[in-house]
């Protein structure tokens, strides 16, 4: 539970030595409560009180980091139930479940671009293959599989087995890494807690109730393992939504035994895409998929990006000149702002019409046309700068630029900025662009 300024003050030396940079210990305590300073600024706080203060300021959901041969995946540190309350911070890692190295290189190399960002798969969950023969699930066989997967990817791994010896073999095959051990349940938790402690790897715990999870984490924490992940063991859409919501609510109320990220296994669900979509929007920190399919991975990566976008900061597209429907030198030049929704509205309409065009996206600090204009971020000077800066004139034969109808007022100033260009005023709404392009621009 977060402490108030007064509660923190009681744990400080109360000497008003000023070495922290504040005139009194109380002033420092208030700043600490507001999380505006670090406790380390006080040289005299006792070790015992320091521990107590650190505990109280710990985030409600512990940050867990998986380390691969290269790269990390983080989950946790979330602070809200609904993204509009603040934002969701650590995008859930998308892992592909594999039983061998087959297909790993292909999934590892996957890269897809979405509004100027490249997305990839985050890692792999290596499952001991018990189906081929008994010996295949043996520790030695598992270590071989893990090594083979590691040869095909450097991304972080999740080790899937209930058998402590198998997991031990997997960990030994990954020196210097922090894979997720997945994991512990009521039957094997003691051995896995020992393994997690010895290896420093995070450990997933499985139970199908909140109480069952809390019971396991408490017992494992008592053995000195703190990096835990919760597996509520359901892929049923109704049940998983309920328990994920309950766990997030409890964690945000500082219920420490469940203050850990969640792992979800849509790979076991009746409808994997639906379950994975839910896991992304509803609080999972790690998501395990049954296989790599670009058409599914792309949809999930985009959903994750959308849900984890900071609602306070509009998504922007990269300013620049965008080619729509393979424009030719005589195709029209359209201008808009770099607010993603504005860009998509314009680009979609033009694209849907099949008419070729050059779309010049100005840096308007991610605002829509009217908002940017009102804020002085979308004026004749900026538009002229974009047109000159992106060397638009070199690509075209007809120096004619179409302004959004909402900023018709800028046409005079833009003529002054771009004296050898014809300035045309287009429609106010993107939806009317195709008709305008057909009728007015020929």
């Amino acid at each position: 539970m977060a402490l108030s300024g007064i509660q923190i003050y009681k744990l400080l030396p109360q000497t008003n030595c000023k070495e922290c940079g504040f005139p009194t210990c109380l002033a420092f305590a208030m700043k600490l409560a507001a999380k505006q300073v670090e406790l380390s600024a006080c040289p005299y706080v006792t070790e015992a009180n320091k521990a107590q203060l650190a505990e109280s300021s710990a985030p409600p959901i512990r940050l867990i980091t998986l380390k691969g041969a290269a790269g990390e995946v983080k989950a946790g540190n979330e602070v809200c139930l609904f993204r509009h309350e603040k934002t969701f911070y650590n995008k859930p890692g998308l892992f592909v479940r594999v039983k061998s190295a087959a297909g790993v290189a292909e999934a590892d190399a996957y890269k897809v671009n979405y509004v100027g960002m490249d997305f990839t798969v985050d890692g792999f969950a290596v499952e001991a293959d018990a189906s081929t023969s008994l010996s295949a699930s043996s520790p030695a066989a598992y270590a071989d599989t893990v090594k083979a997967v590691r040869a095909a990817t450097k991304r972080p791994l999740i080790l899937l087995s209930k058998n402590p010896d198998v997991l031990q073999a997997g960990v030994s095959a990954l020196p210097g890494e922090k894979p997720l051990l997945c994991g512990a349940d009521a039957s094997n938790w003691e051995k896995l807690a020992d393994l997690a402690k010895a290896s420093g790897c995070p450990l997933a715990v499985s139970a199908d109730t909140v109480d069952g999870l809390a019971d396991l984490t408490e017992k494992i924490k008592a053995k000195g393992v703190e990096d835990l992940v919760l597996d509520p063991m359901t892929t049923h859409l109704g049940k998983s939504l309920a328990i994920h919501t309950q766990l997030r609510r409890l964690a945000l109320k500082n219920t420490r035994p469940v203050g850990y990220p969640l792992i979800a296994f849509p790979c076991n669900a009746a409808d994997e895409l639906m379950a994975a979509s839910q896991a992304i929007a509803k609080y999972a920190g790690f998501v395990v998929l049954s296989e790599f399919k670009p058409e599914t991975m792309y949809a999930l990566l985009v959903l994750r990006e959308n849900i984890y976008t900071d609602p306070q900061k509009p998504i922007q597209v990269q300013p620049g000149i965008y080619e729509i429907n393979a424009p030719k030198p005589e195709s029209p030049v359209l201008v808009t702002t770099n607010f993603s929704i504005t860009y998509f509205a314009v680009a979609n309409e033009v694209e849907g019409s099949g008419l070729p065009a050059w779309l010049v996206v100005c840096d308007a600090e991610g605002m829509s046309v009217l908002t940017a204009w009102a804020a002085g971020k979308f004026d004749a000077e900026r538009i002229a700068k974009a047109i000159k800066g992106f060397n638009v004139a070199e690509k075209i034969s007809k120096k004619r630029v179409v302004l959004p109808g909402h900023v018709a007022v800028l046409s005079g100033e833009l003529e002054a900025e771009l004296p050898d260009w014809e300035i045309r005023v287009g429609p106010r709404e993107a939806v009317d662009l195709p008709a305008f392009m057909k009728q007015a621009l020929n």
Binding site: V210, L237, G238, L241, A242, M274, M297, A299, G352
Partner: protein
């Protein structure tokens, strides 16, 4: 000691609203659909059971759409040419209700003819949406509302530019309105106030907060819906309406769904991706509070239906 599961105690309740009217109620529908009535955030049955499942509407058009994806054309086939056959096919595909979307080319007579044909072909409750240009919507919807008096149609698109006409005709002819606002909590609320101020009973309003497809602004629609639903549960009467979202319209506009050629190889198989686009958009919005999702592809209908039935069981 067992951990106590935190439950939110809400004071507000979303209105339960019925679409369609049977013969006994002055219409001709074989069945009606009731949505809304929630007293918690979506599907948190441990807190309060959700009284009515969300419903799937299938979008059909008064004439063959010129700009629909080839995948949709192939799946609906000949039915696209005839609203009555299309309605039957949509019902067979599992629709709970139909949305007949009129076009700019329709005259009021054409619109009435199409509506009558659909009402004759299927007993499902019906929504009729205009093409989305305020004046044209008024012309078409007034004619439709009069011709289908008493059916409890859901009339759209009712927005700030044309709500007076649409609400007046809904009021006169016993229909409902779909109040559409552009992804903004306050604008949604304001439109609902204007509509109820005209005297339309609050049990005849569905709100359409507008959304974007996956990748095209879904996060705005998603959060606006969560905020509207939270406001409703907190007791704000003018947000206590079931929500409808035109998922199919948005998702199939996205290049990811619409086209199969000239796109990056990393997008994968077209058919699967297109359905993925529609159902991922639908799932996210159902979980943020949608009561009616309007879909286009029969495969999406099937899968979203299965998801709803899982979500409705604890």
């Amino acid at each position: 000691m067992p951990i106590e599961i935190p439950k939110d105690k809400w004071t507000g309740k979303v209105r339960a609203i019925t679409l369609g009217a049977t013969a006994a109620e002055g219409g001709t529908r074989a069945s009606v659909v009731t949505v809304g009535g929630e007293t918690s955030m979506p599907y948190l049955h441990f807190e309060n059971p959700m009284p009515n499942p969300p419903r799937i509407a299938v979008e059909i058009k008064s004439r063959k759409p010129a700009d629909w994806s080839r995948l949709l054309e192939e799946t609906w086939g000949e039915a696209l040419n005839d609203p009555a056959s299309w309605a039957k096919a949509a019902e067979a595909a599992g629709a709970d209700l139909l949305v007949l979307w009129l076009t700019l080319e329709d005259s009021p007579d054409d619109a009435v003819k199409a509506v009558k044909a659909v009402l004759g072909a299927s007993g499902l409750p019906l929504a009729v949406f205009g093409p989305g240009q305020a004046e044209k919507d008024n012309d078409l919807l007034v004619a439709v509302a009069e011709a289908a008096k008493g059916e409890r149609l859901l009339l759209g698109i009712c927005e700030d530019k044309n709500y007076r006409t649409i609400v007046a005709t809904a009021l006169a002819n016993g229909h409902l309105v779909s109040a559409r606002s552009p992804m903004d909590v306050n604008l949604a609320k304001q439109l609902n106030i204007l509509i109820t101020d005209m005297g339309l009973p609050a049990d005849r309003i569905i709100m359409d907060p507008t959304t974007g497809a996956l990748g095209y602004g879904i996060e705005y629609g998603y959060s606006v819906m969560e905020r509207l639903r939270l406001a409703a549960l907190q007791g704000d009467s003018m947000t206590q309406f079931p929500m409808l979202v035109t998922v199919g319209f948005e998702a199939w506009k996205a290049k990811e769904a619409k086209v199969g050629e000239g796109v990056p190889a990393a997008w994968g198989d077209w058919q699967t991706r297109a359905i993925n686009w529609e159902i991922t958009t639908a799932t996210a919005l159902l979980e943020s509070g949608a009561d009616i999702v309007v879909l286009r592809h029969p495969e999406s209908v099937k899968r979203v239906k299965a998801a709803i039935s899982e979500l409705m069981t604890a």
